[in-house]
Structure formats: structure tokens, C-alpha cells
């Protein structure tokens, strides 16, 4: 790949691989990774100034990716990040001025390199010592977590500084800390970063842990948040000087964006103390690499300079591998330990303050009449809406009590569809109310109900309108109907006393005239008579159970015909099987069942296998 600004050539695959390694490390450690990529780019032929500029541009993009991911995991303390950035900004400026002063009196490079070695070495050794000390004292991982929560001696001293204004950092679990203490820590880390000319993520992350007392995962997320701004300034300054190879940065970002996903996710499975251990090992090797570089400069041994670059790349590669192994192990263990859904019927009723959610609770009670079910009521407090959620929860519990139903109650805070979806994983039946689609946004993105239906793996009843279920339309696939749909329909009909109409839609795609042309009328006749025979068999079997049942075969577009029949026939509930599309297709196009949920004028029950 030809890089037009510096006039050099470099393999695109190599850039992708480097990006991936640094992405994993950045997401996992909360660093930019400049101390790894810059020497590597330099070794592979990019002049130093271009290597720094290109890397810093890539760091900016990558820190956005990793911060977004960490934010989703609740690992970013925005308040702390902004304050740290203010302190860091001033510190970097003072650090740079100190370098200018040293330049005037000479020997600046050697001083900086020695400070760099001392800093990397001391931070690395301290963190390693800290890990070993706790590992000896405390055996269990849980106890190491407690040790992490207690914080270091330094952080306790800093928390005891009571110079106003005092602030609280709820995300980091800090009740009260002086704003000046944060600015001071930011300033000192910024000064060191400015002095040695690096981004400073590897100083800030431990400083947040040991000096401010922030939990490791939040220190990582917050540091990445700060890196967005510091690297943006750096990228702008280098690009202004024409020292950013934009194409190389774009390619590297592809690799690092993927790597950052893995690195960030791995923080979920590796405990804070262990992250510190890996981090300390990485930066101790980084210190050794800088020592090699210094020796190569002092004694003019060029090969040591190359060896230093290869050493840091090897360490990055090995650490990436360790992180990925931890990630795979963590995911497989989590799946093994995942709570097995009991065979017993486990229903989850979602409620909020809306009228339709109370109707949904009533319909749920009616549908589950006489069923041995463990019922849980989940009430979601949406921070965007100011409602008395406790009152809504009490009302929903009151309705359940009216129907002599016992239920556990859970109160969650967050985006309703996400919280309901999370909770539904431990159940096998979900009941939600829905007003239907309102406005352009819901038309394009879907509403809470359609989002849940698209993603959930459990049977879901979406209640719409306040009519009791007395006439039910059951969509049934022929030939080879799915047993669970039939069983579900019979169960609901028995509980509510409703009648059932089975509808089979002979699905005709948009190329209808062409397809019809291929079949002779005899073939179609035979085809339908087979289906009619099977449908009659189903109807007879259901009638034997004491349920009123009829059947119909229609030809046309699946969802269109179901919705039309539901409207024209005055049904109160539509029962459909799981979506015909699943996986990627369902995600891109939306599933058929979610389309029916969006468009249906009445309640919909989606039966999952």
C-alpha cells in the first residue's frame, strides 16, 4: 500500500494486524497504545514524525470505539473524565515548557528517556508488587475485589483532603472528593505526559486507581474517554503539519475497532487485580524496550534499536493472546453457569404507569388461569419519564391480587425494552402491553414491543386494546404444523373460553403471476386438498377438547393476509409461530412476527419453540 504523504510503502495486512493488537490492548487497559505502535510503524519504514502522527489519529478513532463500548458497560465516569482532562491539559503545557527549558541547557533527549524508563519501570514494578502482595494475603478472587474496593493508602489520604468545592463521583463509587485533588492528579499526569511526549494513558490509568481510588474497569473507561480529546488535539496538530498518513490510519482503525471490542469485552471476565497484573507486565517490558533504545543511542548499536521495536511488538502480541484466551474462557464459563430455566412455567409481566400495561396484567392473569406458573412482575423506571413508578407497581400488584395470583416484584431502572429483554432471559413467557406505533421515529425504529419481539427468545404476548380474548385467530403452517403453536392456542382457549379459527396462508411472493404460470390447476387443487385434509384433522382434534374451532386457507402475502383476516373477522388475539426469518436476515429486515406486532390492531401472541 502506497502512502502518498510520506512517499513510503507498507503492507495493508500488517497495518490491520497492528491495529487489531493495539485495539485489544487499548480496550483492555484503557490506553492509547502509542508506545507500541509508534516504534512498530517506524521499524516498518514510516519516518518517526509520520509514525507518531498516524498513530495518534488512529488512537483518536479507536478511543471513540472503545469508549462507546465501555460506556455501555457503565465504565465511564464522565464527570471525572472532564475534570481530569482540564488538569491534564494544563499539565501537558507545563511539561512541554519544561522540555523547552531543558533543550536550552542541552541533553534533553537523554533526560527524557531516563525519566521515561524510570516512570514505566516504577509504575510497572509498583503494580506488580501490589498484585503479589494481595495475592499472598488473599487467596480468593472475591477477596481481591474487596481489596480493590478498599483502595490504596494514597487514595485514602487524597479522600481526606477537604478543600472545597467537594464533589461526589457516584459512577466511581466515591462519595466525596475535593475537586482540587482531581485537578492536581490530572495536572501531574499531564505534566509527565507532556514532559516525555506521550499520550499518557499508561500513567493516568494507574493514577486514577491508586491516587483517586477509582475501580480498575472505570479507570480504564474514563481514561479512554479522556484520550478521545487529548488524541484529537494531537491528531489535529500533526495533521496540520502534514504528518498524518490518513490512509494508513483508516486501515489501522479497521483492525483496532475490532480489537477494541474484544479487549473491552474481556474486562468483563478478568478481575481488576488481574488487569493490573497484565498491565504491569506490559509496561515493564516497555521499559526494557526503552532501555535497549537508550543503549543503542549511547553506544551506537543500531541492532538494539530494532530489537527494542520487535520486543515491544512481541509483548503486545503475547498480551493480546493472553487477553483473548481469558475472554474465550470467560464466555464459555459464563454459558456453563448461566441459570438454567426451570421446566416450570415462568412468566414475566412487564408493567409501567400506562393504562395498557395494566390491561396487559389483567390479560396475563386470564391467560394463566389454572396454570402452575411462577410469576414475576417487572416494573421499569425510565429516567426519561417522570412518573410515580412505585404507585404503578403497587397498582399492577393489586390487579394480580384481585385474580388471586402471587407474584415476585422487580424494579429496574433504564431503557424499558432493554431492561425487559434482560429480565426475560430467565423466563419462558413474557407479557407486555403496547399502544401500537406512534409517530415517525417508532415507524422507522420500532416501539418497545417490536424491539423486544425482534430480539427475545421466549414466547411473548403483546397486549393491545382492552378487549378480552373471546375470538382467536391462529396462524398455522401446513403441511407440518408446529406442535407448540397448536398447544399454546389450545391452552389459551381453555383458560379464556375463546373460540379458535385456524388460518393457513399459502404464501405467494411478489413474483406471483410467474409462479402461478408454472403450476397446472390440477397440481394446485391437489396441493390445497392435502392441506385442507390436514387442517380438518386439527380442527376435529381441538373440538374434541371442548373448544369451538374452525379453519380457513387463504392465498397471498403472509403478514398481509393475517392482518386483514384479523381486522375483518373481528378477532381479539392473533397467535403466530416464531418468525420465519431469523439471525442476520431478521436483524436487517425485522422479523415477520415483529411486523405483525407493529401493524396489528389487536393483541398478538408469538409462540417460540
Amino acid at each position: 500500500m502506497y502512502l502518498p504523504i510520506s512517499g513510503t510503502e507498507i503492507s495493508a495486512w500488517l497495518l490491520l494486524a497492528m491495529g487489531f493488537f493495539v485495539g485489544v490492548l487499548a480496550g483492555f487497559f484503557g490506553i492509547g497504545g502509542g508506545f507500541i505502535v509508534t516504534p512498530a510503524l517506524n521499524i516498518f519504514g514510516l519516518p518517526m514524525a509520520y509514525a507518531i502522527g498516524t498513530d495518534i489519529a488512529q488512537i483518536m478513532g479507536n478511543s471513540i470505539v472503545a469508549t462507546l463500548k465501555h460506556r455501555k458497560m457503565g465504565n465511564v465516569d464522565v464527570k471525572l473524565g472532564v475534570l481530569m482532562f482540564l488538569g491534564t491539559g494544563i499539565g501537558v503545557k507545563v511539561g512541554m515548557e519544561s522540555v523547552m527549558y531543558l533543550e536550552e541547557i542541552g541533553a534533553v533527549e537523554t533526560v527524557i528517556r531516563y525519566v521515561y524508563i524510570a516512570l514505566l519501570g516504577s509504575v510497572g514494578c509498583y503494580m506488580l508488587f501490589d498484585y503479589i502482595r494481595f495475592a499472598r494475603q488473599l487467596g480468593h478472587e472475591e477477596e481481591k475485589d474487596i481489596a480493590e474496593k478498599l483502595g490504596s493508602g494514597l487514595s485514602r489520604v487524597i479522600h481526606n483532603i477537604h478543600i472545597p468545592p467537594m464533589i461526589s463521583l457516584p459512577t466511581s463509587g466515591i462519595k466525596s472528593i475535593s475537586i482540587w485533588a482531581i485537578l492536581l492528579v490530572g495536572f501531574l499526569t499531564g505534566f509527565l505526559a507532556g514532559f516525555i511526549g506521550v499520550g499518557g494513558g499508561f500513567i493516568r490509568m494507574p493514577a486514577m486507581i491508586y491516587a483517586i481510588g477509582v475501580p480498575t474497569t472505570i479507570a480504564i473507561g474514563t481514561d479512554l474517554f479522556e484520550i478521545i480529546f487529548s488524541s484529537a488535539i494531537g491528531a489535529f496538530l500533526y495533521a496540520k503539519e502534514g504528518r498524518v498518513e490518513i490512509m494508513a490510519a483508516v486501515v489501522m482503525l479497521f483492525g483496532s475497532a475490532i480489537g477494541a471490542q474484544f479487549g473491552t469485552l474481556a474486562t468483563r471476565y478478568v478481575r481488576g487485580m488481574k488487569i493490573r497484573l497484565y498491565f504491569s507486565v506490559t509496561i515493564i517490558f516497555a521499559a526494557i524496550s526503552v532501555i535497549l533504545k537508550q543503549v543503542s543511542v549511547t553506544y551506537e548499536i543500531e541492532i538494539l534499536n530494532t530489537a527494542a521495536g520487535y520486543l515491544i511488538m512481541a509483548v503486545a502480541g503475547a498480551m493480546t493472546l493472553v487477553i483473548l484466551i481469558n475472554l474465550v474462557k470467560g464466555i464459555s464459563e459464563e454459558r456453563k453457569l448461566a441459570p438454567q430455566v426451570e421446566r416450570r412455567f415462568q412468566a414475566l409481566i412487564a408493567s409501567c404507569d400506562s393504562k395498557i400495561s395494566f390491561v396487559a396484567v389483567r390479560r396475563a392473569c386470564e391467560v394463566m388461569k389454572g396454570v402452575d406458573a411462577k410469576i414475576t412482575l417487572v416494573t421499569v423506571d425510565d429516567p426519561k419519564r417522570k412518573v410515580d413508578i412505585e404507585k404503578a407497581r403497587r397498582s399492577a400488584l393489586g390487579i394480580l391480587k384481585e385474580h388471586n395470583m402471587e407474584a415476585d416484584s422487580i424494579l429496574r431502572k433504564g431503557t424499558p425494552w432493554k431492561e425487559i429483554l434482560k429480565e426475560s432471559k430467565n423466563h419462558n413467557f413474557l407479557i407486555i402491553g403496547s399502544h401500537g406505533i406512534k409517530g415517525l421515529t417508532e415507524n422507522v425504529l420500532g416501539n418497545n414491543a417490536s424491539k423486544i419481539v425482534e430480539r427475545t427468545k421466549v414466547t411473548t404476548l403483546v397486549v393491545r386494546g382492552d378487549k378480552k380474548f373471546s375470538k382467536i385467530l391462529v396462524n398455522i403452517d401446513l403441511p407440518g404444523y408446529r406442535d407448540h403453536v397448536l398447544k399454546g392456542a389450545v391452552r389459551v382457549a381453555k383458560a379464556t373460553g375463546a373460540s379458535l379459527e385456524f388460518l393457513h396462508v399459502h404464501s405467494v411472493p411478489t413474483m406471483y403471476p410467474i409462479r402461478v404460470g408454472k403450476f397446472s390447476s390440477d397440481v394446485l387443487k391437489e396441493h390445497y386438498s392435502e392441506k385442507a385434509e390436514e387442517l380438518n384433522g386439527i380442527i376435529e382434534a381441538v373440538q374434541e377438547e371442548g373448544i369451538m374451532a374452525t379453519g380457513k386457507i387463504k392465498e397471498g402475502l403472509y403478514e398481509e393476509e393475517i392482518l386483514l383476516e384479523a381486522e375483518e373477522g373481528g378477532y381479539d388475539l392473533i397467535i403466530v409461530g416464531r418468525s420465519k426469518w431469523s439471525g442476520l436476515l431478521a436483524n436487517l429486515l425485522g422479523s415477520l412476527s415483529s411486523h405483525i406486532v407493529k401493524e396489528s390492531p389487536v393483541s398478538v401472541l408469538i409462540m417460540k419453540d
Binding site: I5, M60, V65, K69, A239, V250, L253, R268
Partner: protein, 73 residues
């Protein structure tokens, strides 16, 4: 189009011209208008970061790995 017509030589020449054009453009911008170039660098990196982050998350969801709030704090 040229490739469809089986005119491989002309297609190669055209491709080389396009690459030379893009190299020239980037080079010109970086040297001649550094502020615009610097702004473009930031915009491209930010947009690429957001899009890739979004896509990667979708892929993870399809693989059945969902990002939830960490239990470590």
C-alpha cells in the same frame, strides 16, 4: 464497464490514473491546505470510529454476545 467489455489493458490504465489522482489529491491537500486536511483527518477518524463501533456491536449481538453493565463494580 471496460472490464465487462474485455478491455483489460484500458481498465488497468484507468485504475492507475484514478489511484494517481487520489494520491495527488491527498498530497495536495496535506501540503497546500493543512487546516482543511487536519479537520478532515478528525472527521474521518471520528465517523469511522462511530460506524465501526456500531457495526461491531451488531455483529457481537448476532453472535449472541451482548454487552451489559459490568458486574465488577
Amino acid at each position: 464497464m471496460l472490464l465487462k467489455q474485455g478491455n483489460l489493458d484500458q481498465a488497468v490504465i484507468l485504475k492507475e490514473k484514478m489511484i494517481a489522482g487520489y494520491i495527488n489529491n491527498i498530497h495536495k491537500m496535506a501540503e497546500g491546505d493543512p487546516y482543511t486536511f487536519a479537520v478532515w483527518v478528525l472527521v474521518i477518524m471520528a465517523i469511522e470510529g462511530i460506524i465501526l463501533g456500531f457495526l461491531a456491536e451488531k455483529i457481537f449481538m448476532l453472535l449472541g454476545i451482548e454487552i451489559e453493565e459490568s458486574s465488577h463494580h
